[in-house]
Symmetry: C3
Subunit: 348 residues, 3 copies
């Protein structure tokens, strides 16, 4: 962390917040509410964590409106909006910069004579760049990356170490690709033949537009023909699987370990939560949200919110969860009715 | 794409199809039905997509028997069998060839003097090949691959870049291993000891037979003792996890992000769909099909078709899905019965 | 396998077992019960496999108390405790040693002049070690690994090939990191901005304590601020995803393809089984067990045992599984009651 000291009154003014307690108290670091020391700034953004506030040693704490405590004996409180975001901004001031990329080409890199290398690029150790590949201005290629024949990396994009970009696939501008990502491996296609399964050639590419981020060890497969497309500003987490011929619309979010089967279309602004699976050959409408671990088996209209496997609306899902209770009640009612009927018969 | 022009009548004869409309219409490319231009061949293989046919600009479209439209004003239609397959064959004619592997050894490769290297192999940049490893004739080892001590790669197999093949593990002939695959990492075995968990040595290997394909970032763990076996013609998708001592039978298919726990046996011709999980120490009978996202907890007889977690037959699964409706109906019936009984009592 | 011959009486004494049949029978190898030959030692540790005992060719078999057979015509039986463990110990005697790490630095490694390299280390081909990184005494860094700026690898730790350890992240002593693991990629954090999603800088690190093992292609993300922590003796399987700011307590076990969302705390001695998912910002109490494929959506007290999605107790889960039967019975009872009532009315 950087060596900075901030006064409570300074922080309150930075976050446009209301101060309770000593305005002259100082901190020189930031930490989560459980780990914070008296010299740290921390935050509590939701009632769920109010108890942790009492137990924390933090010297200054950003709090949201939910938080009732105004106990300033042990600390200074600053009430502000978007606590999480406000804290992030202050935390960023203390953060060490990530190491700078060295402009230049490491002597151990193996670069084809026919590759086009732009201005101001950084190419790390043990990188391989094949024939006719293009690395645009300002791009950074981490150690051990592989850039296949005719593949393209757009200007100012970053490939962290050990990324594999297969032949003819393209990455746009200002993308961030984390370690271990594989772009452009063959899609999974086989047809039964007389002597077993026969591979269907995967002759297309992967096309990644601008401002896309892709998490560690994610795989995006090349198209059977045409292209698998990840549109601008899509954010993909770790260990996500995007199959051949999928298209993911602008600003959609694919969270860790989810998977999209072949030829499906994910609209714009969609959120697919962790571990969810999307069937092949379906469409997820713009703005839809798929809950974590759900399995979506058919197309969804725009702005759908679904959960479960097979995925259904939240109301249906909650009703399904409540079934054991409902059946228990029915069972009791039935028993009572039986008794009533028996009594009636006995009376006759 | 290659620069080729094909006439509708030529295509009809290639796919052994029946032509409707102008036989002289030409195309010079192929595309999916949504993206196709008037100069493209496309296909519609199922009623589900019939509407897209009307909206498409495609000049020539292969159609299946399901498709009722014979509207040939805007395009030529060709009715044929196995539309998907037929289209794939035509598409392959337009596809650019994948880049050729260069025969020879890249000077940056680090190859042990005791490794045996066959004829006509291609070994890329930054490859490491350890003592006593064997690379058979015609095999291709992509840039950045690691071949461990005594490991073997069979004739004409392809390892794409950044594959890790650990010591003594073996890959058969004509296999295709995609980037980021790890073969032969330790199986996961620990026993409680007096000072915490104690590692159980994983002393076996992984043995991969002929004509196997393994998708990007999949992991196949070495056996605790003996071997983990992937038999001939098995096809494995991306991000699949095969644990120690598993055996996968001939021509089985493991789809993306599924996982097989330790010591289980998958029969021949089995399909494990995406994200499904198979418990340890069980057997999945030949020809069985496990639906996506299912969790199989006990052994299955041959030709089983299961779905859900814990996995059950389709009929049971569908009945379970219908439970909310069923309970709703029961509830209504119960209410009616109650009313009837009350009426009866009032009459007395 | 090593060339060793063992007599049944010797084995019985090694495992402290009771011998049935010929004490002079010998074996020179070990194998699973299905694959064992007459010259092999095998084991059957549970009644489930008793049938396999009869069908096996194994010359000597370790058996547990569950196994009733004492048929020693074809083989010698040795009854012992902890059969699985006992067999493992004998199997270890036959196992070939893993290849030794060569002490020294491969000439192709690219190591910054400011990196600190300890005594007796092994650094493989095509390794990259950046500025200010530290490799402690006796550590082994496999071919193709990347060690980022200021990252630290503790004494006697092993990084198998193609591991990526990002800047400033730390690995403790005697850890084992399998191929393809990525430690310290950015956590997944974005906030909506006026022109789309805005990246939240991930300025923290990953801190891995001593005696931790991490399976192939697992990813552990760096913290948004502060650190993601994996405490001592934690064992992580393949393809696990640990998100930013997670803390995993001592001796916990994360099994293949499970995932822990951001800021969650996993206690000590917890077992998260395969493919389970843990929501963000929750706590899993010490000693808890989460069944495979479960989705845990809220915090769990210590020693919880949960299953399903959303995860619930075993009793609740089993009741839910039994619902179709229960509803079927209710339906039959209701029908009977209806008939009874109709009869009663007819009598009037």
């Amino acid at each position: 962390m950087k060596n900075i000291t901030l006064k409570a009154s300074e922080i309150a003014s930075m976050v446009n917040g209301e101060l309770f307690g000593d305005p002259d108290r100082t901190i020189n670091g930031v930490a989560g509410i459980r780990d914070a020391k008296v010299s740290d700034l921390s935050f509590v953004g939701s009632k769920t964590y109010e108890e942790m506030l009492n137990d924390s040693a933090a010297g200054i704490v950003l709090i949201s409106e939910d938080i009732k405590s105004r106990d300033t004996e042990k600390r200074t409180l600053i009430l502000c909006k978007h606590v999480d975001h406000a804290f992030g901004n202050i935390a960023a001031k203390f953060a060490d910069e990530p190491p700078a990329w060295k402009v230049g080409i490491h002597p151990s890199a193996a670069i084809s004579g026919s590759a086009k290398i732009g201005q101001g690029v950084s190419i790390g150790a043990h990188v391989t760049i094949e024939d006719d590949a293009e690395i645009s201005d300002g791009a950074c290629i981490g150690a051990g990356c592989y850039i296949g024949h005719g593949a393209k990396v757009g200007a100012a994009s970053i490939l962290y170490p050990n990324v594999t970009l297969m032949y003819r696939c393209t990455i746009g501008r200002k993308c961030i690709i984390h370690p271990g990502v594989v772009i452009g491996a063959d899609g999974f296609g086989f047809v039964p033949g007389p002597n077993g399964l026969v591979k269907v050639p995967q002759t297309g590419i992967v096309e990644i537009h601008d401002d896309v981020e892709i998490g560690a060890n994610t795989t995006v497969d090349r198209a059977r023909f045409g292209k698998t497309v990840i549109k601008s500003n899509v954010k993909i987490d770790d260990q996500v699987m995007v199959a051949h011929n999928v298209e993911v619309g602008e600003s959609s979010i694919l969270i860790a370990q989810c998977g999209i089967a072949g030829s499906s279309r994910i609209g714009q602004g969609v959120i697919i939560a962790a571990k969810a699976g999307i069937n092949g050959h379906i469409t997820i409408g713009d703005g839809s949200k798929v809950a974590g671990t759900s399995g979506v088996v058919k197309s969804l209209p725009p702005n759908s919110v679904v959960v479960g496997t097979p995925a259904e609306g939240q109301r249906d899902f909650i009703a399904r969860l409540a079934l054991p209770n409902k059946v228990e009640k029915l069972s009791a009612q039935l028993k009572a009715l039986k008794a009533e009927l028996a009594e009636l018969k006995a009376l006759k």
